[in-house]
Structures are given as C-alpha cells and as structure tokens.
C-alpha cells in the first residue's frame, strides 16, 4: 500500500521542480558562459565546481572570476562580492513573513539558494497562496544543481555551444518581466515600479558597480510607502 505521506512529499518536490524550469533554462547559458570565462582565467573544473557550490551567485561569480584573472587581492574580491550581494538582505527580509516559526535548520538550507530568480518566483507563488515551503526549497536546490552543472560544463565545452540559440538569452529577462506584471496589483505598486525603474537607470548610469538594485529598490519602496500613507491620510480627512 502506498504511503500517503510519501505521495504528498513527491507532489511537493514535483511542484518545486515544475516552477523551477524557467530559472534552470535561464541559468544554463549563463552558467556555460561563466565556465568559459573561468577556463580562460585559468580555473580548473574542480575550482569552478567549488565556487558554484560555495558561492552560488551569478553576478558575484562573474565579478570574482574577472578579478581573479586580473590578479586582484583577496580582500578586494571579498569586499566587492559582499557589496554586490547586499541586495539579498532585502529579498531575505521580504521572504521572512512566509516562514513564521520555521526551524533555523530549514531556513539555513533555504537561504543558501536565495537568488534574484528564486526570490522572484517563490515570493510570487507565496503571494498567490498555496505554495509550500518544501516546494520552495526544491526550487532553490534545482536551480543550484543546474548552476553547478552548467558552470562546470562551461569549463569543459563552453566554446562549442553557439551563443544565443533560440532566444534562450532572454529566458530570465522574460521571467522577471512576467513576475513584475504579476506583482502589479494597485496604483501604489505601479508608481513604485516606475520610480524604481527610473532610479535604477540613473544609479546604473552614474554609479559604478552593482549598487543600483539596492539603492533604487530601497528608495523606491520608501517613496511608495510615503505615497501610500499620504493617500490614506487624504482619504481619512476628506
């Protein structure tokens, strides 16, 4: 007789895998190209695997590989990667409400796989309702597995894969656009999104590095909150 708990668990894992495919599809070409760069920068396959397992952050790994190739100091690499990844503080905070009273062990496993992409998909699913945290965990680790495999594959055979096949370069952008459209549920959200886009562009053009996401999104959310409070006050007084 089949075990009902086991069936439920398989279902949760399957739901996580089903939600992960756009991320995996998008990670594959990016991982390959990182592997190619790493190989040109003198990294061995085991070093690529160690980096993708220990760090698991796309943008930060590209920067680290480039800095390693130019012989930057360890301190410079670590501090740059730290700055680049500070935006995850905001994502982790925004996800926290969906894990009330969940064990530290689970959170430790989950946090490992928190990337821009897994954040966006998991948060949208949680907000839609009915998303289980074990599906979310599966999604994170499926994305990680794809990342490790594709970056190491890049070191071996990256040059053989034609760039831009079937528009796969656009998978992650398409996913972000769709999730953005799903998030817009009131005029406050529209205003915040527009403001974030403008601020992000300005900071991207004027500040070097990757501070633009952190700066633009925290400023835009603050302005959005101020706007929301101002509207609420006006409704009360009128």
């Amino acid at each position: 007789m089949p075990n009902p708990i086991a069936i439920k668990e398989t279902g949760l894992v399957r739901a996580g895998l089903a939600a992960a495919w756009p991320i995996c599809l998008g990670y594959f070409p990016i991982g390959l190209s990182l592997g190619v760069l790493a190989q040109k920068g003198g990294l061995a396959p085991w070093q690529m695997a160690a980096m993708s397992l220990l760090v698991f952050a796309g943008g930060a790994q590209f920067i680290a590989v480039a800095m390693l190739a130019t012989g930057a100091s360890a301190l410079a690499i670590v501090s740059t990667v730290f700055m680049v990844n500070l935006r995850h503080l905001l994502m982790s905070s925004a996800l926290a409400v969906h894990f009330p009273g969940v064990s530290r062990r689970f959170l430790a496993l989950f946090a490992y796989g928190l990337t821009d992409e897994s954040f966006a998909v998991n948060l949208t699913r949680f907000n839609q309702g009915g998303w289980n945290r074990f599906s979310a965990l599966t999604l994170n680790h499926a994305a990680n597995a794809t990342w490790v495999v594709s970056t190491v594959a890049g070191v071996y055979l990256g040059q053989l894969v034609p760039p831009g096949a079937a528009g796969v370069d656009y998978a992650l952008t398409g996913m972000f656009l769709c999730l953005l459209a799903f998030q817009i549920s009131s005029p406050i959200f529209t205003a915040t999104a527009l403001l974030a886009a403008v601020l992000s562009l300005l900071t991207y053009l004027w500040l070097p590095g990757n501070a633009y996401v952190l700066v633009a999104s925290s400023l835009a959310a603050t302005a959005g909150l101020a706007l929301k409070r101002a509207w609420r006050k006006r409704e009360k007084t009128s």
Binding site: L54, F56, A60, A96, L107, Y112, C178
Partner: protein, 107 residues
C-alpha cells in the same frame, strides 16, 4: 594561487554571500514586524524586479549609456502583453524568448 588559498577565498566569498541571505530570514521570521516595516517590505519585490530589469531594457552595458533601441526593450512589449493576458509564466517566458530571437534576426 595555491589550492588551499583558493578554497579559503571561496569560503570567504561564500560567507559574505550567505549571511545577507540568511540573517534577515532568521531574525525576522520569528517576530511580528512593525506596521510601517511590513508595508515597506510589501513594496520591495516590485521595486527590486523593476530595478533589476530597467538597465537590461534601457541601457548599454559597456560603456553604460541610455538607449531606447535595444532588442531587449522591443521584445519586452509582447512579453508583458502575454503576461497580462495569459497570467502564465511558462507561456510568457516562451513568448519572450521567441520574440527576442525573432527580433534579433531582423534588427
């Protein structure tokens, strides 16, 4: 760089990547947040998504300059339209990829 130094560097990079992902989850999931902070966090996802995408659509990366002519921007129109009409992530990602691929052939 020796293998040992490389692994130590990766451990340090792992730590500065992991801690910002972990600490807010652990610290904030066990308490009730003040109202203003919860409302602020509600706006964070839409702000982050928009901030992540904007340079991809409206800027060249090297050097960083503003532009309205990127294929990424034109492909965003059918992609967003599909997202609003179908509410399907899978369908939208495929429409986005095909639009981008098609536009790249003619632009």
């Amino acid at each position: 760089m020796s293998s040992r130094d490389f692994l130590l560097l990766m451990l340090a990079l792992g730590a500065v990547t992991y801690l910002p992902r972990l600490l807010p989850l652990v610290m904030l999931s066990r308490r009730t947040l003040p109202g203003w902070f919860a409302e602020w966090l509600e706006l964070i996802p839409v702000a982050i998504l928009s901030a992540l995408i904007a340079p991809t659509l409206f800027a060249q990366s090297n050097p960083r300059v503003f532009t309205l002519g990127k294929v990424e921007l034109f492909a965003a129109l059918p992609t967003l339209l599909c997202a609003c009409k179908t509410r399907s992530l899978a369908g939208t990602v495929i429409v986005g990829m095909l639009s981008y691929w098609g536009l790249r052939q003619i632009m």
